[in-house]
Symmetry: C2
Subunit: 68 residues, 2 copies
């Protein structure tokens, strides 16, 4: 299990938090997601044998946010 | 049928637009809702015999926004 903190642009409200936490949380291999709205950060605990960082970033970007 | 434009604080993204347009649009007596995100304004067409402005404001505030 690994942990990354991604910098994400465009998260502006509680709906954005829910949107990211629910979609990223559903990825196979992701065990925990926590959005820090005021810091523009998303913390993710994941199993790197099951899912790659790129796949996690892609899911966030599909929701309309920019991973920087 | 009447039309009002409400000034609403706290709308920050497309999720907020959807949230307000869908909940206000479902009120009996409301025929049209349009959120102008960058102006912080919500335009509502409604039948004042069926619904009051206060009821419309209440639904917006229940979603977590402030009508000013």
């Amino acid at each position: 299990m690994e942990q990354i903190t991604l910098n994400v642009n465009g998260m502006s409200c509680g709906h954005c938090v829910n949107s990211i936490e629910s979609t990223v949380g559903k990825i196979n291999g992701v065990s925990e997601v926590k959005v820090h709205l005021n810091q523009g950060k998303v913390e993710v605990c994941f199993n790197s044998e099951t899912v790659s960082i790129d796949e996690i970033k892609e899911v966030i970007e599909e929701q309309g946010y920019e991973v920087v």
